[in-house]
Amino acid sequence: MAPAVAVMTVALLYPIAYMVYASFLDWNPSQRIGEATFVGLRNYTSLWSDESFKESLQVTLKFAAFVVSLEMVIGVGLALLLDRNIRGMSVLRTIFILPMMIAPIVVGLIWRYMYHPTVGVFNKTLNSFGFESVPWLSDSFWSLTSIIIADIWQWTPFIFILSLAALQSLPKSALEAARIDGASGWQQIIHIKLPLMLPVLIVTCLLRLIDAFKVLEVVLVMTNGGPGLSTEILSLRIARTASEFRELGVAAAMSNYLLLVLMMLTIAMFVYTKISESRAEKLKRAVEEY
């Protein structure tokens, strides 16, 4: 027990406390932290008049919203379609988790190659059917779309696997009752399956949302934030502020903003699980008393 607490204090809690302190400083990487000047809340307030920060915040929100909603729809849809007792389901699941297991750097690399203007498979295919090439990574609209597509490829399986697990643990009795009452396939999905899956779906959605804010490497390799700032998501902006612009204080302030957003999401998830647990408890007690 003691070693675990020691390691986590030294390498997690201390850094996070350090970062909160650093966000009040005007600090560049060549200085020791003691030499940096204290600037109070300036790092925080100046960010709100910084156009490129606002831009990257917007990009991050757009990216997260699109990615999570599309992945939820596709993932849950596929789970509903494939929820059957087929042989080889475990092989299918194994194949689906591959994109999540390989390094994000490699995922970025693969997609950068496929989006390549001349040798990439997408443009080659388009050209061979006589269509124009698409500027996948060099146009600000397309580049955002491209990273969204890549993320969907990588993470939809996560939602698929979770919702499939949820589907297969649904009470058989409810579904049977619905079938006996003559509910059609759609009615079963909308009135029985989805409501019963809802707790898992909400948690999945929040987990995915948290992860969507953490994406960095895939985008770094594919576009490095460009063209312009069109794909510069927040975590990429933090990394660049720290290493290229050498403003550690500002980067720390940005990190704190990001952390705040993620903290709210996490707390929302925690509160939700607690509420649904206590509701289930109450229901159970009510049934027992009855």
């Binding site: 027990m1 297991m101 750097i105 490699v106 949820a166 975590s235 993620l262």
Partner: protein, 297 residues
């Protein structure tokens, strides 16, 4: 579901077409990477169809030139960066995994058997940690590792143990949490029986508990290894020329123009191979680890 319904569903061709399409979509990009890594640059840039080409290991020879037991003919100049990075990656990932597992098992066992904290606290910390993006750790870890954690002249930045410390800390909450859920299932009577038979606490732990939680250990090991093996951002900030890992060298070799796709895809494939092997060997444990957070709290 009735048997009749099952058989009609099995015969539905659209269903199978969908499954096949999904498999192609999931595997296609990975297969493409591997096939590109077996092509010469001429074939990559060529206009002709990408399916017909002479596979070659030349790219792998270029990448691995200084760790090969023979001197490849085609390589004129041997760049040792990648061979070294591969060694570094292996050392760092294996060390992180081993240390995390040792510390994590001890902590999880103590948590369950001696009831330090409630399960709620542990799952809360594990969740909180899942939330912290590596980008957020970048500034403080860089600052502390370069200036604070120093023994005499040498600092934690640039060393193996510096980065291993970060990875261990990043993974511990999750590892403790998942192991704990396995240890809870070990019946205490089993341990008591062993103790009655004269086993000391260490024997109980190593000979009774550890063998029973093997699946949990496997899941924890794979997750830790994967994170340490794949991580880029912190490795990029902390490590120097001699201790760089593979992801860092890949990003460094990506330039705006003139990318030698064959070589870089060979590097990428080598980086992807260990996780792919794990996936096929232990997909069940991985899925357990992945779904643990959402399906049961």
């Amino acid at each position: 579901m009735s048997q009749a319904a099952l058989t009609t569903e099995r015969r539905n061709p659209a269903f199978y077409a969908l499954v096949v399409a999904l498999i192609v979509m999931a595997l296609g990009p990975i297969v493409m990477m591997i096939s590109t890594s077996l092509k010469l640059n001429v074939d990559v840039m060529g206009e002709t169809s990408s399916l017909l080409f002479m596979p070659t290991v030349a790219n792998y020879e270029t990448v691995l030139c200084d760790v090969l037991w023979y001197t490849p003919e085609r390589v004129e100049y041997c760049d040792p960066t990648f061979g070294r990075a591969l060694g570094n990656s292996l050392i760092i990932a294996l060390a992180s995994t081993a240390i995390t597992l040792i510390i994590g098992t001890m902590a999880a066992y103590a948590l369950v058997r001696f009831r330090f904290m409630g399960r709620g606290t542990v799952s809360m910390t594990s969740l909180m940690m899942r939330m912290v993006p590596p980008a957020v750790l970048l500034v403080p870890v860089f600052g502390i590792w370069t200036f604070d954690f120093c023994v005499g002249e040498s600092c934690a930045a640039g060393t193996y143990w510096g980065i291993v410390l970060v990875y261990v800390a990043m993974n511990l909450p999750f590892v403790i949490w998942i192991l704990q859920s396995f240890i809870v299932q070990v019946p205490i009577q089993l341990e008591e029986a062993a103790r009655v038979d004269g086993a000391n606490p260490f024997q109980v732990f190593f000979l009774v508990v550890l063998p029973l939680i093997k699946p949990g250990l496997a899941a924890a090991a794979i997750f830790t290894f994967r994170i340490a093996w794949n991580e880029f951002l912190l490795a990029n900030a902390l490590l120097d020329r001699n201790t760089r890992t593979v992801p860092v060298t890949i990003v460094n070799s990506l330039t705006e123009y003139d990318i030698d796709w064959g070589v870089i895809m060979a590097t990428g494939s080598l980086l992807a191979i260990p996780p792919i092997i794990f996936t096929f060997v232990a997909s069940k444990q991985i899925i357990t680890g992945m779904t643990a957070g959402a399906v049961k709290g």
